[in-house]
């Protein structure tokens, strides 16, 4: 077996047509004073090491990306993400093209979050066309199936997005976007085949005060048994971008999302730093989002971005609880303000990244009344490239 592996490695190194076209490594160091993004402030550091490799085969490309993330104060949240995929770009004419991608993803968390381990298959396609030299139409469709270790979260989701943008000679761009999405939780209930979670999520540890009833069961479960449950959302969004010379760009964005049908099947939703959460995603809320971003190309070719975002989200199906864990009879609603700073500097073979976020989250559920500082510094090396063609 070792010989075979060695042969494969030798062939890949010596054979130009099999060698990866690009290979990169990245290392990020992240720090936060509120890992679980709730009122129980807990700080932690997270180190992430990623690799990315791809190979172009005629008009197809295959790619793979893996990320290992280690948390220092909560090592049981350490995880590994692996993506693999194949994609294809096909021009329809001089002004239009379609893109297809088929991918797979595996997420593997250590003990505290192993219920979130999942395998996913996703399909993505996009169509883009210049309807005039200064206007573009984009249509994207995505379909994804996720299979979790805890089958409560198993889901099938799809989304369709149509956008149209127009550029004016004043260096102003207007963009409008319509989006529809549907997520179907296949069996968001506890069955005999589904073992209950062995513990409460780490973010709840130490909270107590009767938040949970029905000891031993996951706080996510609402039904003892039943059918699958779907959530359908629709959104409208707009963007105005203004170029101020070649070195400064300013944009304003607005978005309104509605829940057309369904609601969260769980009693509880949560998000936390760096973990993709099945109960807290774009399908879990309705509300508005406003944002602005200033982009500046600074001396030494440093790209700098300053952003400010405000969101107001209501979570249908999720009741706001008091600190004793009793229902207040109203739907949970969060209002969030976020300031972010990002800088990027590219060198011949590597790039440096720096980012800082400050978030203030106000909620009618006092447990989710929180603020947090999130700092990240990273480096990406681009080691290998197939040729200069």
């Amino acid at each position: 077996m070792k010989k075979l592996a060695f042969l494969v490695l030798l062939i890949m190194i010596l054979n130009p047509s099999l060698m990866a076209d690009s290979f990169s490594l990245s290392l990020y160091q992240n720090m936060t004073d509120n890992l679980f993004q709730n009122s129980l402030v807990e700080s932690d550091q997270l180190s992430s090491l990623s690799f990315y490799v791809d190979k172009n085969l005629s008009r197809f490309s295959v790619f793979s990306e893996g990320t290992y993330s280690y948390l220092y104060n909560n090592p049981n949240l350490t995880y590994y993400l692996q993506d693999v995929g194949l994609d294809y770009l096909h021009p329809l004419n001089e002004k239009s093209a379609v893109y297809f991608s088929l991918g797979g993803r595996g997420a593997f968390y250590r003990s505290d979050f192993s219920d979130y381990n999942y395998l996913a298959v996703n399909f993505f396609t996009a169509f883009k066309s210049y309807t005039s030299p200064t206007s573009i139409i984009n249509v994207n469709y995505s379909l994804e199936y996720k299979n979790y270790k805890s089958s409560l979260f198993d889901s099938l989701s799809q989304a369709l997005l149509v956008s149209f943008d127009k550029y004016f000679q004043t260096r102003t761009t207007f963009k409008g976007e319509i989006s529809w999405g549907y997520k179907f939780f296949l069996h968001p209930f506890l069955s005999q085949q589904t073992p209950p979670m062995t513990d409460y999520p780490a973010s709840y540890k130490g909270r107590g005060k009767g938040r949970f009833t029905g000891g031993g069961y996951s706080p996510f479960i609402t039904k003892p048994d039943g059918d699958g449950q779907g959530i359908q959302v629709f959104s409208l969004s707009g963007l105005i971008a203004q170029g101020l010379g070649n070195k400064i760009g300013l944009n304003l964005t607005g978005m309104r999302q509605w829940t057309l049908s369904g609601e969260n099947p769980f009693t509880y939703i949560q998000e936390f730093y760096s973990v993709e959460n099945p109960s807290y995603d774009r399908f879990s809320w309705f509300g508005t989002q406003w944002g602005s971003q200033l982009t500046i190309l600074m001396p030494w070719n440093i790209q700098f971005k300053l952003g400010y975002t405000r969101t107001q989200k209501e979570f249908p199906g999720i009741e706001s609880l008091n600190l004793e864990g009793e229902s207040s009879g109203i739907t949970r609603e969060d209002r969030r303000k976020q300031v972010d700073l990002r800088a990027e500097k590219n060198f011949p073979r590597f790039s440096l990244y720096l980012s800082y976020y400050y978030i203030m989250n106000h909620s009618n559920d006092p447990f989710f009344e929180w603020t947090g500082h999130f700092f990240s510094v990273g480096i990406e090396w681009n080691f290998l490239s197939g040729g200069r063609k």
Binding site: N93, S135, N246, T295, S385, G387
Partner: protein, 144 residues
């Protein structure tokens, strides 16, 4: 016997690679790198290399010389960025003259709207060629 078979396999695969990996006519020549700046005149997807998707070709008029250049960007940039006629770009890349006496630039760096797109490193090797739109969502550290 089995070892010999493995050896043949290695030779065949390496040889096939050398044949299949042969280069196409245009290459990034670092000695012919130039910088141009001007408004976009036209945007097209055009065939450039054998057995690859057509490239994104931006026709750009240099403000200083009034020369027209065809800026070559790999196909992935068609989906990664929106370019528009009239928008001013600063492009750094390798110049070559095609048979029809057109001036072409294999782009290495494109600056516009306060951003810099790095398409190749300073030796001309492409950055981020594959994965295409998958990489659009790549996170530079934590995003919210």
């Amino acid at each position: 016997m089995r070892r010999r078979g493995q050896l043949y396999l290695v030779f065949i695969l390496i040889f096939s690679g050398l044949v299949l990996g042969q280069k196409t006519p245009h290459f990034y020549n670092v000695d012919k790198e130039i910088r141009v700046e001007g408004p976009i005149q036209e945007i097209n997807m055009e065939p450039r290399y054998v057995d690859t998707s057509p490239f994104l070709i931006i026709k750009l008029k240099d403000t200083k010389t009034q020369q027209m250049y065809n800026i070559e960007l790999s196909p992935v940039w068609f989906f990664e960025q929106n370019f528009y006629k009239g928008e001013v770009l600063v492009v750094v890349g390798s110049l070559y003259v095609s048979g029809d006496n057109n001036l072409n630039i294999i782009a290495r760096e494109v600056r516009f709207r306060g951003e810099t797109l790095i398409l190749r490193d300073k030796h001309g090797f492409p950055n981020w060629r594959g994965g295409k739109m998958k990489r659009q969502g790549r996170k530079k550290g934590k995003e919210f």
